[in-house]
């Protein structure tokens, strides 16, 4: 009996019509497309985008050249050279991140004892030639200077979970 019922169900395209009813219903559903450059999806304060180097309020750069980030970086994207400055403190002479290697895992940020290297919310950046995504210390500091307000706000929001 069930076999006969199944035969008729198949023959009358019952399942196919059910499927078409479903897609037909969705045709009139509210569309969920986010039209990217005009609209943006909400972002977490933990979003890991473009890197930045931060400074203290007095303008002194935070990085002390401990090379923990270089050591932890799984993609070997960070290159650091260190020397002693005139005032006797240890500072980096070179701090490069190759963003084409970087996998945006956030380990550098986590390992940093002074919160110098951070990842910002910026994700829609680009390079127009091959070297453009090789970020040097100056470029990273510039990103940090430009977005310090947002960076500080995001760190503050995340602080209670650390």
């Amino acid at each position: 009996m069930e076999k006969i019922a199944n035969f008729f169900k198949t023959f009358l395209l019952y399942e196919l019509l059910k499927g078409m009813a479903l897609t037909g219903r969705y045709m009139f559903a509210r569309k969920i497309t986010v039209q990217f450059p005009d609209e943006r999806t909400p972002q977490s304060f933990r979003f890991r985008g473009l890197h930045a180097q931060r400074r203290y309020a007095n303008g002194e750069e935070r990085c002390i050249g401990c090379k923990l980030c270089e050591a932890v970086c799984p993609a070997l994207a960070i290159k650091i050279e260190v020397a002693e400055r005139e005032d006797g403190t240890r500072r980096t002479t070179q701090y490069d991140i190759d963003l084409t290697k970087c996998i945006f895992c956030g380990f550098c940020e986590e390992s940093c004892p002074v919160d110098a290297i951070v990842e910002t919310r910026i994700f829609d950046y680009h390079g127009e030639s091959r070297g453009d995504l090789y970020y040097t210390k100056e470029m990273l500091l510039a990103v940090g200077d430009k977005n310090e307000a947002q960076i500080a706000k995001d760190r503050a929001a995340d602080a209670k979970y650390r």
Partner: protein
Amino acid sequence: MEWLEPIQKLLGPAWLPIWTIVKIALIIAPLLGAVAYLTLAERKVIGWMQIRIGPNRVGYYGLLQPLADGLKLFMKEIIVPSGANKFLFVIAPIMVLMPALAAWAVIPFNGEMVLANVNAGLLYVLAMTSLGVYGVIIAGWASNSKYAFLGSLRSAAQIVSYEIAMGFALVCVLMAAQSLNLGEIVRGQHGNYGMLNWYFIPLFPMFMVYLISGVAETNRAPFDVAEGESEIVAGFHVEYSGMAFALFFLGEYANMILIAFLTSIMFLGGWLSPVPFLPDSIMWMLAKAAFVLFLFLWFRATFPRYRYDQLMRLGWKVFIPVSIVWVVVVGAWMQTSYWVW
């Protein structure tokens, strides 16, 4: 057409070819426009069914998108693979597009508007739609690529299989209409009860067979194993680029529109009005074709692709027996007094 008579006298014997060319242009130009906007409609409708909004960046609501696509294809280079047979490679897309356009010669748009009112119009249409498969085979073979070759083999086998069921479905129609002339077939569906007089009611199983075979015949989803993106890249036209690819594309969509028109002529009463109190007009024809085309897009948005053996099973073991049985049923039915169509 009285106002054309002075021109007719002026041109003398040259009138007939010129007037025919004008009529051909009047069919082909809107057809190509319809093809362009069918691609947009497809992307829009499938987008809506997937809760997206579809293309909306080029012009208002993406209305210029087909022009942008066409321009892009036009500017692209046509690459002929080094191992390909150049002559066949170039001629294949033409062989796909040509029959798809030639079949329009016998399509009646309303009682008077038909380019060639031939008595064997149905046979002509069947012949033309079957010719397209040669272009597909040659495209796959001339490309000298295994994917293209497999795609063309699949496509050829599929089109040939579904042709039979399609032919039997049309046999029922011509039995009911007692004519092979497409215009006569539509007139045969004229009656006092509007849409109740159309052939899709007595021939409903054949209507379904024809519609589904039509989807298979044009290699559309869910019967698009010939292109099967996930298996053989793009099938027979994988080696084509630029305008050569665009010709295949035009051919496929022109065929879709052709099947939609044929379905509305054979089963949905062509230009006849669905209700008795409204006048018959070409608008009904276009509306019915648009409805069938919408069904094509709806199918594509809904159904997953058939596996190849399932596709062959459906064609040979379901459609052909069903259509043969229905030919007999209609034949017997027409001998009784219950045949009112």
